[in-house]
């Protein structure tokens, strides 16, 4: 494992460096600049120029890039341009909220996808299989912005069971926090769960056709046990890879979902940052997302190896 990490680490760092450059470049490619946004709707060029100078945006681009890298290396992320406060604080708060949301969503993804995936592969009666497929299809076909609004209309407005949106700290009021968490997590989890369920179904179907299932049958193991204890573990490694990919999708999906549920996470922060051209916030945030993603990839590779004993010893 150490050698594996040592082998992957340099390339991961390289990815981060490349990403930092891309992030910087993309932001400058997007028209509109922080100064005009900060200056407000009726500002004159003088105000804009003053703000530009104050933010250091009049310096050459490459210098700005190096300056940013320097800041990153010293760990001082500096103040945000438009949102207010220190970038580090903003990101820490947003990260906490998003981590809650994605963790809950991830849990739901697994909790939903596992039985659905197994059912899809083993349903002997046609209606059950059809129902599973109908569900996964519907979930994939209805975009999250529709699902989200529908969920709110149903559970918050009509039934009054859950709040329509917002966020509570898990530490202050855990039960309330869970209520706030439920709908956005479900909304975020559904498409990924559908995708994962599909891959699981596929993997289990493949595994069920393997010779070792025949062995287990010949030994007298029950059908149920064969599916859960023999076929499923073989479908898991590739499912974990899919799950790793889905984490990227979850972060992307968080932008939509956090907006609909007024969830103060990184997705909202990215959107706000981009909308106000808050360069420091967006730059640091995107880099963080890339870093998280790269780490997740590393982790999935490790988990994969852990789940599949054949990999571990090679």
């Amino acid at each position: 494992m150490r050698t594996f990490l040592l082998k992957r680490l340099p390339s991961a760092l390289l990815v981060l460096l490349l990403a930092s450059f891309l992030v910087f470049l993309i932001l400058r490619l997007i028209p509109g600049d922080p100064a005009t946004t900060l200056a407000g709707p009726d500002a004159g060029p003088a105000a804009v120029a003053a703000i530009r100078a104050q933010l250091g945006l009049d310096r050459p681009l490459f210098g700005q890039y190096l300056h940013w890298l320097g800041e990153l290396l010293t760990g001082d992320l500096g103040p945000s341009y438009a949102i207010g406060g220190q970038v580090a604080d903003l990101i820490t708060d947003g990260l906490g909220a998003t981590a809650q949301l994605t963790a809950a969503a991830l849990l739901l993804v697994v909790v939903i996808a596992l039985p659905l995936g197994v059912l899809g592969a083993t349903a002997r009666r046609r209606p059950v299989g059809a129902a599973v497929r109908a569900f996964t299809t519907a979930v994939l076909a209805v975009p999250p912005f529709v699902t989200g609004v529908l969920l709110v209309l149903l559970f918050a407005v009509t039934l009054g069971l859950l709040p329509a949106g917002g966020h509570e700290s898990l530490l202050d009021a855990p039960d309330l926090a869970l209520q706030y968490l439920l709908l956005p997590a479900v909304c975020l989890a559904l498409p990924s769960a559908a995708v994962l369920a599909r891959y699981l179904t596929d993997g289990i179907e493949r595994a069920l056709a393997e010779d070792y299932v025949r062995t287990a049958t010949a030994v007298g193991v029950s059908r149920r046990r064969i599916v859960w204890r023999h076929a499923l573990p073989n479908a898991l490694p590739s499912a974990v890879t899919v799950l790793g990919l889905q984490i990227g999708h979850l972060v992307a999906g968080a932008v939509l979902v956090e907006r609909i549920f007024a969830w103060p996470g990184l997705g909202q922060l990215v959107e706000q940052g981009v909308l106000r051209r808050d360069y420091p916030v967006v730059q640091d945030l995107l880099l963080l997302i890339v870093a998280v993603y790269v780490t997740v990839q590393l982790l999935t590779d490790l988990v994969y190896a852990w789940l599949d004993p054949r990999i571990r010893w090679e």
Binding site: P31, T36, R259
Partner: protein
């Protein structure tokens, strides 16, 4: 007509103390725009006070200033200040704080819209701690707009306020916490100078960016009050007795089409007039604004001294006339780029306009643009031939619009429109001590005439902010700049 401010008329028990009022908004508070007018101005009047406050007839009423004296030539104004006011930090409020507030607005980095008016103040003469004379370079008719607009910050913490970390003012509520993108919370200022006020224990401003979600949070009672509900959503609440709906003249509220006069075709005045005739304003108000708006060809709301029903109805839906104008200009089948903000509401507006223009032979190519890009193009005067947006500031003294609102600014505007005549009238209307004498009104009429003739800004409809409140939330008002005033607000049991 829309003068109601949600007074607690039907409430026999009278105001109740206590409770936390939740206000929903679609846009987060931007600290850097604390001293400017922006999309979220709910915070300003909760934490801070202004010198005066307009009543419904645009007459200034005392706030931090108890009385004022403008010299007849309009060269200076003398203010008497309240003596019982302290900042949340405990420091006493004095004339120095007013001096600081004015100077603060003169700083270009504060990007205050009324900077030109603030800049007209050239000298400060203190007479004790609570009397102050502001000496003006020239008379300004919109002086009290400045006093309505200018919040008085604590000089010691102004940079922290600007960064959004610490807000210290003299207002009814003290700032407790801000979670960017999520909420800002306030607690009652126990030492507020207005005795017995405020009633509420606290206020929470929740940011709900998605319009549907904001509506849902009102419906579920999570939010008590909002000014960010879209007109078409309000229309769906109209029949629900649970909500009180109160339109204001206030805020950023006139929809218009802007024309870049250096662009092909629209440099011709007749083309711009044809556009003005081509638009079905009634349908626009009905379909895009859910009926919450007033058709108008001029920027002025009915409360404005410059308002004239005749001028407001100058342009109406007349495709034939539009086609004739185009023909006169020798143009058939022209195609123009047409920028609009890419949010759903503005996209709908743009599509309606596009369809109407197409009916008279003006093809347009829509350019959905995100607001920072739009902002940059507006300031850089690099807009395409046509665009649609909304503007504010018409609810105040008419001169403020022409000197402070960028679309109309005589010195430099996004349309690249310049005319010595316009500059002259605007300056004359602005640099005078009074604002509603017959001479002043005559000048406003002339401004209106120029606007109607030149049509570099083609006004379509006036739509101020509309308050939507659940039944138990009472007594909230907005000032003319959309600052939320909760001095008298309370929640019924």
């Amino acid at each position: 007509a829309d003068t109601a401010t949600g007074q607690a008329t039907g409430d026999a028990a009278g105001p109740r103390r206590g409770g936390v009022l939740t206000v929903g908004t679609g846009v987060d508070f931007t600290p850097a725009l604390l001293f400017a007018q922006s999309a979220n101005t709910l915070v300003q009047r909760l934490v801070f006070n202004t010198l005066t406050r307009y009543d419904d007839k645009l007459q200034p009423q005392p706030e931090l200033a108890t009385s004022w004296q403008v010299t007849p030539d309009g060269a200076s104004v003398t203010l008497k200040l309240r003596e019982d006011v302290t900042f949340h930090s405990g420091r006493r409020f004095t004339a120095d704080d007013v001096v600081f507030a004015v100077k603060n607005l003169q700083n270009p980095a504060r990007s205050a819209q009324l900077r030109s008016t603030a800049a007209a103040v050239t000298d400060f003469r203190k007479n004790g701690d609570f009397e102050l004379t502001l000496v003006l370079a020239h008379p300004v008719s919109n002086l009290f707009d400045l006093f309505e607009f200018m919040i008085v910050p604590d000089s010691a913490t102004v940079e922290e306020a600007f960064a959004g970390t610490k807000l210290i003012g003299t207002g009814p509520y003290t700032f407790t916490e801000r979670k960017p993108g999520s909420s800002i919370t306030f607690a009652r200022n126990e030492k507020y100078w207005n005795p017995g006020r405020p009633y509420l224990d606290g206020v929470e401003i929740r940011v709900v960016p998605q319009a549907e979600s904001l509506l849902s949070s009102l419906r579920t009672g999570q939010t008590h009050l909002s000014y960010s509900i879209r007109g078409k959503d309000i229309a769906t609440l109209r029949s629900d007795p649970q909500f009180r709906i109160t339109p204001y003249d206030t805020g950023s509220g006139a929809y218009y089409i802007g024309a870049n006069l250096t662009a092909e075709h629209v440099s011709d005045k007749r083309v711009r007039q044809a556009v003005a005739w081509a638009v079905d304003r009634e349908r626009l108000v009905e379909q895009a604004l859910g009926g919450y708006g007033t058709v108008s060809a001029t920027p002025w709301p009915k409360s404005s001294p410059a308002y004239s029903a005749e001028a407001a109805g100058h342009y109406h839906h007349d495709p034939e006339r539009a086609r004739q104008l185009l023909k006169d200009a020798g143009l058939t089948g022209i195609s123009l780029p047409f920028a609009h903000s890419n949010d759903p509401g503005n996209t709908a507006v743009a599509q309606i306009l596009q369809y109407d223009l197409k009916q008279v032979g003006i093809e347009t190519v829509l350019q959905p643009t995100d607001s920072p890009t739009m902002q940059k193009q507006l300031i850089a005067q690099s807009m395409p031939a046509l665009w649609t947006l909304s503007h504010g500031f018409a609810q105040l003294h008419p001169a403020t619009l022409a000197v402070s609102a960028y679309p109309f600014n005589e010195a430099k505007n996004s349309s690249r429109f310049t005319s010595p005549a316009y500059t002259d009238i605007v300056r004359r209307a602005w640099q005078r001590p009074d604002s509603d004498s017959p001479e002043a009104k005559a000048l406003y009429g002339q401004i209106t005439d120029v606007l109607l003739d030149e049509q570099f800004v083609i006004d379509l409809a006036i739509a101020g902010l509309t308050e939507v409140a659940v039944g138990k939330a009472r007594g909230a008002t907005l000032n003319k700049f959309g600052y939320l005033n909760l001095d008298d607000a309370y929640l019924t049991a």
